[in-house]
Symmetry: C2
Subunit: 209 residues, 2 copies
DNA sequence: AAACTAGCCTACCATATGGTAGACAGGAGT
DNA sequence: ACTCCTGTCTACCATATGGTAGGCTAGTTT
C-alpha cells in the first residue's frame, strides 16, 4: 500500500519521493529501497523507470529546474510587488519573494539546490546549464538597471551568486537557526523575508531625493 | 607507507584526513577505509583512535571550531585593516578578510562547515554550541555598533546568518562559479573578497558627511 | 624477567547497497 | 487465440561498509 494517496504517473511519484529524500537526507544517504518504500513500489520498479540512481538524480534536476524556472519566470512577468515607484527594484523584490514563496510551499526544492551544488559534477553542471537561459536574462536585467542608475553597480555575476547564497542560506540553514535559538516557523520565515529584502534594499537601492 | 610525510600524532593525522575527505566528498560518501588509506594506516587503527565514525566527526567538529575561532579571534583582537576612520566597520572588514584568508589557506574548514550544517544534529548542534561564545560576542559587538550609529540597524541574528551564508557561499560554491564560467583561482578569490566587502559596505555602512 | 600497555594489524561479520535476471499479470493489437 | 508490451515483482549478486574479536610487537613498568 502506497504511503501517500497519489494518483500521478509512477515516474512523477518517484521523482516526488526522491526530491524529498535527497533534499532531506542527502543523495548518498538515500537508498533506492527507501525511495521505493515511500512511493509504495519496490526498488526494482524504481530502476525500471530510471535505469540508475544517477539517471534518477539527473531527471530530478531537470524537473526541479523547470519547476523553479516557472515560479521565477512567472514572478518576473507579473511582479506582485505592492504599489511602486521603481519597476527595476520591484522585479528584484518580486523574485526574492518568489523564492521565499517557493521555500515556504516546497522547501525540498531549495534543499535540492544545496544538495546538487554539494554533489558537484555532473549534477551541478547540469543544474547550471539548465538554468542558463534564466541566468542570461538576469545578467541583462541587472546590467540594464545599473545603467539606468536605479541600483548600485556591482558585478552581476557576483551579485547573483551572493544573493543566491544569502537567500538560500536564510531559508535552508534551519539547523543553524534552530541551534541559534530561533524556532523555525511560518512566522519567522516571513520575518526573515522582510529582513532579507530590507538588507538588499539598503545594499542596492539608490535613494533619489 | 603513509601517503603524506606527516609526523604529527596519529589521531591528529586522522582528523586531517577526515577533514579533507568529509569536506570534499561528504560524510556518508567517505568510508573509514578511505580515511585509513590517506592517513597510511588501516581502518581498524582509525577505530582505535575514534570508537566510531560519528565520534570521529564530533572530534573533528571540535577541533575545527577551535581552529576557526582562533583565526577569527585573532583578527578581532588585532584587526589588520588599513588606515581607518571607523573602528567598528574595520572589525567587520577584518573578520570577513579573516574568513577569506582561511578559505584560501584551508578551504576544507569552510567546506566542513557546510557539510556539518547539512548533516544536522547532533553534529550541527554541537557546532553551534561550540561556537556560542564567539556568537555572543558578535551579537554584542553588532548591537553596540548599531547603537553608536556606525552601521545600519538590522537584527544581529539575521545579519550574522545572512553574512555567513553569503561569505561561505561565495567561497565554497566553486562548482556554481565554475559552471557560471569563472575559473576558480587565487585571483578570482581576491576579486570576490573585495566584491563582498564592497557589498557589505554599501549595505551596512552609514556614510557621514 | 615477567606483566602490562599502546598502537597497529588480519580476520571476520552482519548488513545494506546499486544493479541484473528473469518471471508473472494483465491489457492491447493482430 | 496468440503475441507483445508495460509495469510490477521476487530472487539473487558482488561489493562496500561500520564495527567486533583478537592477535602480534615493541617498549615501559615493576
Amino acid at each position: 500500500m502506497p504511503t501517500s494517496v497519489n494518483s500521478n504517473p509512477t515516474d512523477q511519484r518517484i521523482l516526488d519521493g526522491a526530491l524529498e529524500l535527497f533534499a532531506d537526507r542527502g543523495f548518498e544517504a538515500t537508498s533506492l529501497d527507501l525511495i521505493g518504500k515511500v512511493v509504495g513500489i519496490s526498488k526494482q520498479s524504481v530502476l525500471y523507470w530510471f535505469p540508475s540512481k544517477e539517471d534518477l538524480l539527473m531527471a530530478l534536476v531537470d524537473r526541479s529546474v523547470d519547476d523553479l524556472s516557472l515560479a521565477l519566470e512567472d514572478s518576473l512577468e507579473n511582479p506582485r510587488s505592492p504599489s511602486g515607484r521603481d519597476q527595476g527594484w520591484f522585479k528584484i523584490e518580486s523574485v526574492v519573494k518568489a523564492v521565499f514563496r517557493v521555500s515556504a510551499k516546497r522547501p525540498e526544492l531549495i534543499g535540492l539546490l544545496r544538495e546538487i551544488s554539494r554533489l558537484g559534477p555532473p549534477a551541478s553542471s547540469r543544474l547550471v546549464e539548465r538554468f542558463d537561459p534564466l541566468l542570461t536574462r538576469a545578467y541583462a536585467f541587472l546590467d540594464g538597471e545599473m545603467d539606468r542608475g536605479t541600483i548600485k553597480r556591482h558585478e552581476p555575476k557576483f551579485l547573483l551568486l551572493a544573493t543566491y547564497s544569502m537567500v538560500v542560506g536564510m531559508v535552508s540553514e534551519i539547523e543553524l537557526l534552530r541551534a541559534m535559538g530561533e524556532e523555525p516557523s511560518m512566522r519567522s520565515l516571513v520575518k526573515r523575508r522582510s529582513d532579507v529584502l530590507e538588507f538588499l534594499r539598503s545594499a542596492l537601492l539608490i535613494e533619489r531625493d
